[in-house]
Amino acid sequence: MKFDVRKFLADRSVPIMFIIICAVCIPLSGFSTSYLFNEIVTRIVRNTFLILSLLIPIMAGMGLNFGMTLGAMAGEIALIFTSDWQIWGIPGVVLAMILSIPISILLGALCGTLLNKSRGREMITSYIISFFINGIYQLVVLYMMGPIIPILHESIKLPRGYGIRNTVSLLNLRQSIDNLVSINVAGVKIPVISFVIIILLCLFIVWFTKTKLGQDMRAVGQNMEVARAAGINVDRTRILSIIMSTVLAGFGMILYLQNMGNIATYSSHSQIGMFCIAALLVGGASVDKASIGNVFLGVILFHLMFIVAPRAGTVITGDSMIGEYFRVFISYGVITLALVMYETKKHKKKKMTKEGTENEK
């Protein structure tokens, strides 16, 4: 096998493009190195767990799980309850995680079942599911919490007497995990426990791919027909992969919110799927292939761009909004590019196998 430089570069075009963008923007933005390092560490801690939750459905051939928002909503509901019960600190985080599991499983099972009914267009379906469940979420949180689901404390209720306020403060929970053990390396605060949790999840994913279920998922992802012939229950395996992703996304959202320190009840989850997916793709993942390395590279590059772009945009154009719009455009552009590349490849492959069978005839 000869090393093909062009192919190597072409496969990594997105990360390379991002490295260039960051390399141009960092000096322009004029941020100090220690500031940037601090910000990046914070964002790795905040987002990595969420992004890792996307890996399992990709392995099972179900594409980018836009339905991870469902897990995020489950996590938020759990946190609303724990903050209503005034359980703070580490116990609060752990309890919220436990509470989120049944909700995530329920939503994940629903999502998985629907995705099994819409094979070949899983992504658009999971995308619409996230909107649909967002409607249900609002129905529950905005109207049912209070009259139907008991909420004890007035402080998190809207003044009208039912529904949850637009922001729920998690001040007493804020960074309780991050601050548990943290060390200071050259002015950069490193939350050890949070990193340990992320590494444990990585190890879990590595271990999981080697289990029977993980192997089944991989087989289903490669070829559903072959997997079925080999006696794998395809539908069940696919649903399980979505459930696992949803539960992990729920945990991820709880860790994310404990770092942020408050819940924006009606908007925290709405963009999270898009940002996580964009970050994963920036790391060089594609719709059908993603690794833990992609997650880390992606989270660093994407958020570096996110921090420096607005300031650099202001410096270049003199208008602060340009940079803001630029980073939104880049997020969507990256996803579009990845989707187009994936679908083109799939279309070509389909065409080739079709022509191949025709030639055999």
């Binding site: 267009r121 658009i124 379906t125 649909f132 719009y325 455009f329 969507y332 996803i335 279309h347």
Partner: protein, 348 residues
């Protein structure tokens, strides 16, 4: 009994629920003190604003490109047309005609590029379309700030450059269609001009689908293998359908603006695809089948729910749940359509 069951099944359970819900709203309206003529006026108005955008779904569904989640792409062409027309100083009815003329070349170019792109990714159109739309909208957000617009009615007064987020159309094409031949009976007002405009476009679409090219388009959508065998250039027909959809979206947004009275820029086109998609689905279309009747019924039902729920619900239980209901109904309908079993051979 069997027959009734069959009818309900063909009609689709969610559609049935939506229809029943709307009928219930109309029955309850007088009891909660809502004025029926005003309600109907609202409904007709909103119908006339949105119908063309829903009509834009038809060509792409016919040619098998699925639901056009990339509607914002066409909307941008329309916004460009509208803003250029105002920039060049046209007013009144003229500004509307010029807006259409300016929007057309953009729509054709965008539609062509978009169509060529979609031909490379057959089978995955809907997801890509969604994100192509999003990318285009966020790209244009930068452009609205950077393009050299100068008309004082449109740019930020303070800096003298960069378009405003909402631009009032007063003096330009505000209500040019709606007020044309408007019929007023008491509280009831019928925006005749706008409805006629939609009727003309629908008729053109209807007759087009019966021409040779139109039949070929339907053939490409329903049976590409057969279409190819009978010598139809599939890629060309698909591109044509995408251009038509994009152009109709451009016209659709201009019609929407003339009714609404404002041009909305920046992130506004972002979420305009979903209501149009769900409207045509509520009207009885599926991922690969749609007719003009679906457009009319769907827009009426969807806009009916949008206009009726706030008034009726508010006065009934003093809770404004309309927004939540709208989200659940529209996305639930799209979800239902996506999870229906479609014959896979047709999408090959």
């Amino acid at each position: 009994m069997e027959r009734i069951k069959n009818i309900i099944r063909d009609f689709g359970v969610p559609r049935f629920i939506i229809l029943a819900f709307l009928v219930a709203l109309f029955i309850m309206a007088p009891f909660v003190g809502a004025d029926l003529p005003t309600q109907i006026t609202n409904l007709l108005n909103r119908f006339s604003w949105n119908a063309v955008l829903v009509l834009a779904m038809v060509p792409m569904i016919h040619s098998g490109c699925g639901l056009n989640f990339g509607l914002p792409f066409g909307i941008i062409a329309g916004l460009l047309g509208g803003t250029i027309s105002i920039e060049l100083g046209f007013t009144g009815v003229q500004s509307f005609i010029m807006a259409i003329l300016f929007a057309t070349p953009f729509a054709i170019i965008f539609g062509y590029l978009y169509g060529v792109l979609l031909n490379h990714i057959k089978g995955g159109e809907m997801m890509v379309a969604t994100y192509v739309g999003f990318s285009a909208v966020s790209f244009m957000c930068m452009m609205w700030l950077l393009l050299p617009y100068h008309s004082p009615t449109m740019v930020w007064g303070y800096e003298g450059k960069g378009l405003r987020t909402t631009i009032s159309l007063e003096g330009f094409y505000d209500k040019v269609l709606s007020s044309f031949l408007e019929i007023k009976i008491g509280n009831l007002a019928i925006p005749t001009g706008a409805i006629l405009f939609f009727a003309v476009l629908s008729f053109i679409m209807w007759s087009f689908l019966r021409t040779k090219t139109g039949t070929a388009m339907t053939a490409v959508g329903s049976n590409p293998v057969f279409a190819k065998a009978s010598g139809v250039n599939i890629d060309r027909i698909r591109t044509l359908s995408v251009i038509m959809s994009t152009w109709l979206a451009a016209i659709g947004i201009l019609v929407y603006e003339q009714g609404f009275g404002f041009i909305q820029l920046y992130m506004a086109p972002f979420n305009m695809a979903l209501p149009a998609v769900s409207a045509i689905l509520i009207g009885g279309a599926s991922v690969n089948k749609a007719s003009i009747a679906n457009v009319i019924i769907g827009t009426l039902l969807f806009q009916g729910i949008v206009t009726m729920t706030p008034t009726v619900m508010n006065s009934m239980i003093h809770m404004d749940m309309s927004e939540v209901i709208r989200i659940i109904v529209s996305n639930g309908m799209i979800l239902y359509a996506l999870t229906r079993k479609t014959n896979d051979g047709r999408r090959a």
